[in-house]
Symmetry: C2
Subunit: 421 residues, 2 copies
Amino acid sequence: MSNPFFICRGNIIYAGDRNRLTVHEDSYLVVKDGIVEGIYPVLPEQYASLEVKDYGRGLIIPAFTDLHVHAPQYVQRGIGMDVLLSDWLNQYTFPQEARFADMEYAKNVYDAFVDDLIRQGTFHAAIFATIHREATDYLFARLEEKGLYAFVGKVNMDVHSPDCLCETTEESLRETRRYLESHTSCTTVKPILTPRFAPTCSRELMHGLGKLSREFHCGLHTHLVESKWEAAEALRLFPECRSDAEIYEQAGLLENGPSIFAHVIFPSEEDVRILKKYHGVSVHCPDATTNIIAGIMPTAALQDQDLAIALGSDVGGGHQLAIYRQVSRAVQMSKLKGFYEPENNHAVSFAHAFYLATKAGGSVFGNVGSLEKGYRFNALVIESMEDKGLTLSPEERLERFCYTGDDRNIVARYLSGAAVE
Amino acid sequence: MSNPFFICRGNIIYAGDRNRLTVHEDSYLVVKDGIVEGIYPVLPEQYASLEVKDYGRGLIIPAFTDLHVHAPQYVQRGIGMDVLLSDWLNQYTFPQEARFADMEYAKNVYDAFVDDLIRQGTFHAAIFATIHREATDYLFARLEEKGLYAFVGKVNMDVHSPDCLCETTEESLRETRRYLESHTSCTTVKPILTPRFAPTCSRELMHGLGKLSREFHCGLHTHLVESKWEAAEALRLFPECRSDAEIYEQAGLLENGPSIFAHVIFPSEEDVRILKKYHGVSVHCPDATTNIIAGIMPTAALQDQDLAIALGSDVGGGHQLAIYRQVSRAVQMSKLKGFYEPENNHAVSFAHAFYLATKAGGSVFGNVGSLEKGYRFNALVIESMEDKGLTLSPEERLERFCYTGDDRNIVARYLSGAAVE
C-alpha cells in the first residue's frame, strides 16, 4: 500500500477570505490522501518518521482557477489586439474556431492549451470549446487524463453567426445531448452548457438547453452584459425579458448550478437580483475587457452586494493564460476605475484579487483553491524571488510573483497531493 | 584587421514612422562597421563570399528604448502595488533609494538592473539614479562597460523630501557639478540633469541646475504634470510660472537638449507650447500611471499636436522592465481611454506603439532604434512564436511577442553589430 501522507515545508500562503492572506512562515503542511490535513509550525510527533519535502524560502500556494477561457482561441492569443472587436471576431476568432471541425488541428491546439494550463499553474478552469462535439470530447478527455478540474462546454450558436460556425437549432440540441450523454460518469471534469451568448442563440435553442440542463443536472457558462451593445441586443432579441440574466432564468438554465457569467460589466438591478438568487458567479477578465474595449467590471461594487466573483483569462480576448497575471491586472484596473469613476469605491487589494483567483473561483469545483484543512492539495511552489541584499516578506514575494514572475518561478506543482511531472 | 561586415538573414521589421511597420520577409541585412548598410531580398554579388547568419523564420528587430526608468527602484518592482501613492513612496521608494549611500548595496542592485536591461533587449535608456553621486558614477560606468546607450542622472532634491533623501541646495549643486565634471568625455553614456520634480526642488536649486546645463551642455530628464496634485503643487511653489514646463524653461534647463519629461498626463496649452518649442519628449509609462493611479497620457492627442512621444517602463512605479510589454500596454490603455473619454480619438495602433518603443525614443541618442540605412545595428532576434498548425505573418509574430513573449524568446542580441553574450 502506498504512503497516504505527503509533507512539505515552506512559507505557506492562501486567502481564506477576501480581506487577507493567511501566512504560515516556515511551517509544515501535512497532506493525507490528497487532502490537506493541517499546517504546523513544528511537525507533530506522529509524523516525525515521515519524509519532508523542504522548499526552504519558497512559497507554497493553492493552484489557480480560471473561470472563463476559450480553449480554441489559445493559438490566437496576442494577435489582432489593436483592431475593432467586429474585425477581431470576423478576421481572427470565427475562422479560427471553424477550424475545429478538423480533428488533427483540434488535437494540436488542445494539447498545447492543456500543457500550458498546467505550466501556468491553472488546475481548475471553466472552458468554452467550439460548436464541434468531437473536438470538445477530445479536450474533455485530455483534461481528465491530466487530472485537472474543469467544466467544459460544447458551444451553441444557431442565429446571427457566421456560416462557418452556425448550427441549426436541432443539430445544436442533438449534438449537445450526445455530448452530455457521453460524460455522465463523475470525474474532476464535467460538462457544462455554453450557449455563446444571447445574441447568437434562438429562443427555441435556449429553452431546449434549459430542458437538457434539468435532465442532466448541469450548469451554465456564458457571457452576460459584457458590453453595452450585447446588453441592448439581448433585450432586443428577447423582448419578454427585463434583463440579460432573465433570458437564462426563463429558459430554466440557472437551476442546476453552477452558473458562470463572464464579464458582467453593465449589470442592471434585475441582473444583480437574479445573480444573487441563483448564486451566479461573475467572472472578471480585466485584460480581455481592456483589449476588446468593453470597460471594467465593477468588481468591488458587486462584491459589496455579496455576489460571487472570480477571475478569468478569457484567452484569446485576453492575451495571457496565466491567471496570476490577472491578479495584478485586477488591482491595476480597480485603480483606473477609481480614477475615472471616483464617486464609488472600486479598490481591490492584492489579497482580494488573489482570493478571486484561488478560493473564490475554486468554490465551483468543491474544496479546491485554498490550503485550509479539508481542501485538496492542488498547489504550486513559487521560488523566493528576492534580489540580493533585499529581504521580502512572503506576502511581498507572492505579490512580486503575480506582477513580475512567470512559469519559470513555479518550481513544483501538485494535484491531489501528487507531484505533476 | 577584423571583418567590418556582418550579414544576417530573417524577417526584418522596424517602424520608420508611426503609421506602419516596414517588413522585409526572408531578407538579408548587411551591417558595415556596426551600421546598417542595407536590406536586400537577394544578397548582392559583392557580399557573396561573406558568411551569413541565418535566423530562418525569426524576426530581426531594433533593440528597445526606455526613456524613463528609476534604476534604484529595480529591486522593489512588483511590491506594494496596491497601496496609496504616498504610502508607496514613504514605505517602499524613499527608504529604498536612501540605501544607495551604501556602495555595496548600490553595486548589487545596479549590476542586476543593467543585466536585466540587456536580457530584456533595452539597449537605450534614460535613467534616474538617486541623490548619491558615488553610486550614480558606478551605474554610469557599468552601462559604459556594457556598451549601452544611456542618459544617467544624479537626482536632485532639496526641499519637501524625507530626511534620508534630502540634500542642501549647495550640496546638491556641488555634487552635480562633480558628477558632470567626471563625465565630459563622449561615450554612448552621457550625464543628464534629473531634478526629481518641481515639488522637491527649490527655485535656487533649479536655477543653479540651469547654469550647470549651460556650462556642461547637458539635457534634462524629469517628471511633468504627472498627476493633478503635482501640477497644482508645482504652480503653488513657483507662482511666477504659468505652467509646470515653464519652471524648467525659466531655469534655463531646456536649452541644451534633450528634454525628457515623464508622464505628461495633464498638460496645459502652455505646457504643450513649451514642449513643442524645445522639442521636449513626453514619455508614456502606461503600467506606472495605472499603478500609481495617475491616469492615462493623452498619447494620440499629443502626437496629433506633433509632440515627440516615447515609452518608459518607470520601474518601480511600473513593475516590469521589459519595454515590449509597455508596447502592448500602450495599445490597451489607448482603448480604455477611448472608452472613458469617447469625445476624442485616443487610438494607438500596435505599429504606433512599437515605433514609440524603438525609433521615437531612440532619436534622443542619434541613429538608433530603427534598421534603416545609416542606423546602428542595435538589434534583437525574436524566435518565430508560432503554434503548430498556424502560420502567422511577421507583423503578427511581433505583436504576439510584445503581448505574450518574454526574454526566452529573444534568441540573439546585437550592439553596434556585435553579438552581446
